[in-house]
């Protein structure tokens, strides 16, 4: 090969790099390992994590331990889906493009909005992208954000806002729900968008329609973040006046993966279609009239529009969106709703069960769908440690992100959490709190009298 190139050594090819800039030593990294060694090394690291197989996981806060059906792995691991890149050549990418089209249809159905893209990075950055869209659409630079929006989403929106120059105003919570009065006051003629989440971070199902009125009134866009797993039973944002519905896609067919990769879904009204971020597959025909799919509206995108693009995203999360689509097809129209109902019923049971535990009280009474918040009459961190020792990840502590709820704990339910596990959580939590408060006996006595409730 060197001969064909006309050099004697590969090194000559690197001479275009000025000598002083060439690394004159090997990289300070370990030598390569055999496949078996790498496997052992990483299995060793993995073994030092307490995953949801070792612990009974009641932690949610945006990502949930749902059961991912085996066909999802079987299909996403196929080379034909796993190893190609963005479908720039549609004639040899119909598989991926049709999946995008099917996915867009599914997300449009879930959210009740006509337009969906093929997915963004994940939840919070999708919220920030909605902000960018809203600025372009309204030519305004002010966001009103509910404190019920996921803290990560609020932080990310703030980070981006420093860049594209927007002001973020936060509206607090009342009884676990967005303070409607404060919201109405906060929204004004300069407001580009109002950001809500339902169920909100504390698990409360918000009255999006009512809250959104303020946005409508002032011509601001209504952006609603939602948990896809609740959309089988909750009124879709599109029917509540949302201009944009988005969220974290992980619950749909994606593993926890310590936080990623997953995907963000992003749906909007027809009006916003040319301002959408991300890839969008569209239906068309080939020269012989065969139905086919292509990347539509590419004129929005960075590779065509460059500095005028509606967003800078290029590589997104196509494989994760495929996982979601397969999971949704597996769930099917009725299974999807039944799952939503199952979650609501078990969540209601868990909430009631925990409320009955000595040292636990509900943080709010608002309606919930799959997650709820409680207050503990004992140091949360210490209680969680005690539960962890008994193999239970009892929930997400609210303290860091909600100092006002320093004693708060967020508890999430998935179809993997059985009644037995919920009862176990209640007992373990009760015991841990009691132990922290040093009156285990009182607890025991009380526990027996609780048996009725369960």
């Amino acid at each position: 090969m060197l001969g064909a190139i006309g050099v004697d050594t590969t090194d000559e090819l690197f001479e275009q790099i000025p000598q002083p800039l060439r690394l004159d030593r090997p990289l300070a990294l370990p030598d390569g390992l055999s496949e078996a060694e790498v496997f052992e090394r990483l299995a060793g690291l993995a073994g030092r994590n307490a995953d949801a197989e070792q612990q009974v996981c009641f932690v949610g806060a945006g990502m949930y331990d749902h059961y991912v059906p085996a066909i999802v792995d079987a299909i996403t691991s196929r080379s034909e889906f796993l190893t190609p890149y963005t479908p720039y050549q549609p004639e040899i990418s119909q598989g991926g493009l049709q999946v995008m089209f099917e996915f867009q249809t599914a997300m449009s159905e879930l959210t009740g909005l006509p337009v969906s893209n093929a997915g963004l990075y994940e939840g919070p950055s999708s919220v920030a992208s909605a902000g960018y869209l809203a600025m372009g659409a309204t030519k305004r630079r002010r966001f009103v954000v509910s404190r019920g929006l996921h803290p990560h989403s609020r932080e990310t929106l703030a980070t981006y806002s420093v860049g594209y120059g927007a002001e973020v105003v936060e509206v607090g919570l009342e009884g676990g729900m967005t303070d409607a009065g404060a919201l109405a006051e906060a929204v004004d003629g300069e407001t580009a968008a109002v950001f809500l989440q339902s169920p909100n971070f504390l698990g409360a199902v918000e009255d999006v329609e009512a809250l959104g009125a303020a946005a409508k009134e002032h011509g601001a866009l209504l952006v609603v973040a939602c948990d896809p797993m609740t959309l089988g039973i909750l009124k879709p944002p599109g029917e509540c006046g949302a201009d944009i519905a988005l969220g974290e896609g992980q619950p749909l067919g994606n593993r926890l993966d310590f936080g990623g990769p997953s995907f963000g879904f992003f749906c909007a009204t027809q009006e916003q279609i040319r301002r959408m971020p991300g890839r969008i597959a569209g239906e068309t025909e080939d020269v012989d009239g065969r139905r086919g799919f292509v990347l539509a509206l590419q004129t929005r995108e960075q590779h065509i529009r460059r500095e005028k693009a509606t967003n800078n995203i290029c590589t997104a999360q196509a494989l994760n969106a495929l996982a979601a689509m397969v999971h949704l097809a597996w769930l099917g129209r009725h299974g999807f709703r039944e799952l939503g109902e199952l979650l609501a019923q078990r969540t209601a049971y868990a909430r009631e069960r925990l409320a009955g535990v000595e040292g636990v009280e509900l943080l709010h009474e608002a309606p919930v769908a799959r997650e709820f918040a409680v207050r503990l009459h004992a140091p949360v961190a210490a209680v969680l440690d005690r539960c962890a020792e008994r193999g239970i990840a009892a929930g997400y502590p609210l303290g860091r992100e909600y100092p006002e709820y320093g004693d708060g704990l967020l508890v999430a339910i998935t179809e993997r959490r059985s009644r037995e596990q919920i009862d176990e959580l209640a007992d373990t939590l009760g015991a841990a709190i009691a132990a922290e408060r040093g009156d285990l006996l009182a607890y025991e006595a009380n526990k027996s009298s609780q048996e009725g409730v369960a």
Binding site: I71, Y121, T315, R333, R337, E341, R419
Partner: protein, 507 residues
Amino acid sequence: MSLTETPMQRERAQTIYEKSKPGRRAAVFPDAGVPEKPLQELIPSNLLRAEPPRLPEIAEPEIVRHYNRLSRRNFDLDSGFYPLGSCTMKHNPRLNERVAALPGHARLHPAQDPRRAQGALELMWLLQQSLGEICGLPHVSLQPSAGSHGELAGLLLTRAYHADRGEERTKVLAPDTSHGTNPASVTMAGYEVVKVATNERGGVEMDDLRAKIDEDPGAVACLMLTNPNTLGLFDENIAEIAALIHAAGGTLYYDGANLNAVMGHSRPGDMGFDIVHVNLHKSFSQPHGGGGPGAGPIAVSDRIEPFLPRPQVVRRESDNGGGPSYDLDHERPQSIGRLRGFQGNFGVFVRSYAYILSLGGDGLAEASETAVLNANYLKARLAAGRAGERLPVAFDRHCMHEFVLSGKPMKQELGLATLDLAKRLLDFGFHPPTVYFPLLVEEALMVEPTETETKESLDAFADAVEQILAEAESDPEIAKQAPYTTPVRRLDEVKATRRPVVRQALE
């Protein structure tokens, strides 16, 4: 049954919704097993959904068949040569999928207490260290979800850096060869793009650079550069360029999409860059998934470090003589904040770290060497044939890991556009190179073979290009009507944008 239609072409596209039949299903659920209440008693009925979303009703066997058959309508790296320039389509070792799927990784909740996720945090820390060493910049944040996310992060870091010094700068310089995400990120970060010209050697036109800086040095926030650049050429003036930008007080951003050319040979940090993003899905072998997932960690210099995103993975030496421990540092007062939820695309980190462990330091350097060798060999093979005349290399010098050809003569002499050549290549079973990028080159064709391709694949590709050009000399129509054997033939992209149909209509 027409024999000119291939079996796949005969099989018309049908979506899963069109295969749906009322009453069918795959999933079944146990009953809740708890005392149940009517849904309306749990959630006010005005907040409830009337009709379930019209998801398909279909049983597992047909779901599997649907997606298996669909998958075969994709061309993929695991079945053929995929020289898509700028995308580094290198082989994805299956080992990486295996380790990423270990329950300790795949089922680890992102909010797990760091004390019970030490393995994951250590892995992230080790990956940070490795990337820092490879880039020659000590501080790494793994948070960005892809390259363009890293770019945005870098620009926000630049903004924070200047703000910290009481400066408000407005311009970001970028060569006209830069990738579309660069200017797009610049705008999103609230900056103005200033284009810098390219010289006859394919590098930055120094006079133009000086001019653009001198206009208003105090306004220069940053210069974004890819090196080797999108022409596959290393800019020999990089040291001087860095000096100029730094003199003006700007930061130097390295778009790491082309890092696969220089791993273990040259480091952005040593070139004078302040901020680098690394596309783990390119140089570090994350499967491309049909368009992601990926990850775009950033490595930065000391002066940028204070502003890195939150949270940051840190290592704590134990005071009581035990081993070190790892934690997430949320207390970073000067941080630009979060760019996304939780800690980043961890599953991608596992794969890329496994890749780094497999190759080791020398292996990475060797990978770059082979990538450069393969690119130059293919460039030479093509130049020796008809492509030498019809598809000349845009800038005739040794390239790094990729090279750019110009289809201008081909178009003028044979009436064949670069697009036609690309489409005809499909009939030969190849994924075409990147086309019409960089914009600077007329009828551009950007070829990146990567180090995991064999000489046989490179030769076969060169032969195919030769054959297509020869064929076109006698009859250009063949290529203009191509492809013929793909599942569908040329598609009407204009229609798809004029009257966009972006979802299935359901009644």
